[in-house]
Amino acid sequence: MARTTSVSPAKADSPEAGELVATASGRYHVLTRYDRRVLMAMVGIPLFLDILLIWWPTFTSLYYSLTNWDGVGDITSQNFVGLKNYQFLLSGGYFQFWPAVEHNFIWLAWLTFVATPLGIFFAVLLDRDIRGTRFYQSVFYLPVVLSLVVVGFIWELQFAPTEGFINNAFGLVKTGRIIDWLGNPHINLFAVLVAASWRHVGYMMVIYLAGLKSVDPTLREAAKVDGANEVQTFFRVVFPVMAPINTVIVVLTAIESLRAFDLAFIINQGKNGLELLSILITNNSISESTRVGFGSAIAVILLVISLGPIVAFLSQAMKVSRS
């Protein structure tokens, strides 16, 4: 049936016949004007709020980043400095910038190549009917429900220099060879990453397990009949059909790494080896700090990096909803 046909049997039956709306599938809705207004409000109110509080600030960050505004008074034409903030950042004029970029990338690499694969590995092991699989799953997923504040506190109990478990358990306190896990700028990032992984691994495991459950079991049986062992079955059969989930997992990992803020802030306010882009933004532009324009330039750089995973996620979602 052609989509533009205006005559439909539904029209005559409907008591409040309004306009006909053709759907993509070629069916027709009879929506009264009232209904259409209600629908518009249902989408319009949340959309207005979303644009006002999420998208307007996003573009305003871009605008602020071209100024040297200090957060007081109005922005005048004298505040515009063009791309100076970016030049200053990229040329290394702000000594914390490149270390923060490096830390964000180490965070990303660690989660991508250590924590996420471990979560996938747990999921693959626990997806089979082995004894106690529910128990193991519950244990690995427990940290996922906890706040990062609580996670940070719990790991401070392990890593603290004189009172922490690790240094005491290995006798480093008694012998005076204390390792300052959270204070030494060469190792504290990795100590924090251990804490972050404690939560991330379980998160990835849960998502991957759900994906594995949706794999057609006959695929595995067929692979088995063809003589593939479990490792081959996973890498040659299961992993490829899991492509959509693999994308989601990679994207979620990337977004988590770019958002990283809480743990580093709780340990030492993101200083001394724990600088992250997210923390530099707030340190420069919020409350007593007055370099609003400068901090916004860092926000824009973080935004540009984030666009990669965001676009990947959206195109994946589009693909699924089209099929």
Partner: protein, 318 residues
């Protein structure tokens, strides 16, 4: 490959038993590995629980890694509960989380309903705007948002006084900044993006014919949404409510930036303030962290199914 392949290929006959017996050592290694990892995973939490029950005097004398000679008790919990005025911060959390979750579910289900049950030109685009907004790092929008909160006038109307708690309905400083209403607003808007995405994935699986025939029968869209489509989404709504409760309860960043005074902060971010001033030793820190973790742990125990469903709905069907 060839040897194992040959074995499994002949497994249809009696050699299946042999094959299984040959796998035994692998099973033992597997379980040993899983038990080791499980112990490693549970240990940090176990250690926090153990520390929290130990009197500080005992640890000072015997060291942190030692058996409890002075006995275990709840003194650290008592000290933290009263000393840090914990009931007050729990109340703050409650005031922020409960209305936020209800509002998010309401707004998100409206969006999901209108975008999945009807075809119009921009329905996918609208969903993408919501989803992308939720994927942004919050720090990208925080600077303009902070200044927006500082410059938006909000009327102060009245407050709700319960004992020593005073909850202003709108604002007690005529701003959005440092107000319950402000922190709720950003939670609601930010998480509506996520919830709309997840709920629309769920609603897509509901046949449109239900809505279409209801419309032909003369029902209004609001009635269809409320009486027909939303009841069908009950499992997804329960999962989202559980997940959103945990997300907002666990929030640190928004409360840190958008609430200035300690007395409006929810428990999770208040905990960090107490780090310097109140926590004099690790045993007290442990008790504090665990008390703040009680509601999410209750979710873990009683609503595990809903929580996991919420996490996976957003990824596996999206």
């Amino acid at each position: 490959m060839s040897i194992t392949g040959a074995l499994t290929r002949s497994a249809a006959t009696g050699t299946a038993v042999i094959a299984r017996r040959r796998l035994r050592p692998a099973r033992v290694i597997l379980h040993a590995f899983l038990i080791a990892m499980a112990l490693l995973w549970i240990f940090p939490l176990f250690w926090a629980v153990y520390s929290s029950f130990r009197p500080i005097g005992d640890t000072v004398v015997h060291g942190y890694v030692s058996l409890p000679s002075g006995g275990l008790n709840l003194d650290n919990y008592k000290a933290f509960w009263t000393g840090a005025d914990l009931p007050y911060f729990y109340a703050n959390t409650l005031v922020i989380v409960v209305p936020s979750v209800i509002l998010i579910l309401l707004l998100a289900s409206m969006v999901a309903f209108a975008c999945t049950q009807f075809s119009w030109r921009f329905n996918l685009t609208v969903l993408m705007i919501f989803t992308a907004g939720n994927l942004l790092p919050p720090q990208v929008i925080i600077v303009p948002l902070y200044h927006l909160y500082l410059s938006t006038p909000i009327p102060s109307i009245s407050e709700l006084d319960i004992g020593r708690f005073a909850f202003p309905f709108f604002s007690d400083n005529n701003l959005l900044y440092d107000q319950y209403i402000g922190i709720m607003l950003i939670h609601v808007v930010f998480q509506t993006g996520f919830a709309a995405f997840v709920l629309s994935n769920y609603m897509k699986t509901i046949s449109r014919e239900i809505t279409e025939s209801a419309i032909i029968d003369g029902a209004h869209v609001l009635r269809i949404c409320w009486n027909i489509v939303l009841p069908l989404c009950r499992p997804a709504l329960a999962a989202m409510a559980t997940l959103l409760f945990t997300f907002i309860y666990n929030d640190f960043f928004w409360a840190l930036i958008l609430l200035k005074t300690g007395d409006k902060r929810p428990i999770t971010s208040a905990l960090n303030n107490l780090q310097g001033e109140f926590f004099s030793n690790n045993n007290l820190i442990a008790a504090g962290a665990l008390l703040a973790a009680v509601p999410p742990i209750l979710v873990y125990i009683f609503l595990q199914k809903q929580f996991i469903a919420g996490l996976t709905l957003g990824s596996t069907k999206g």
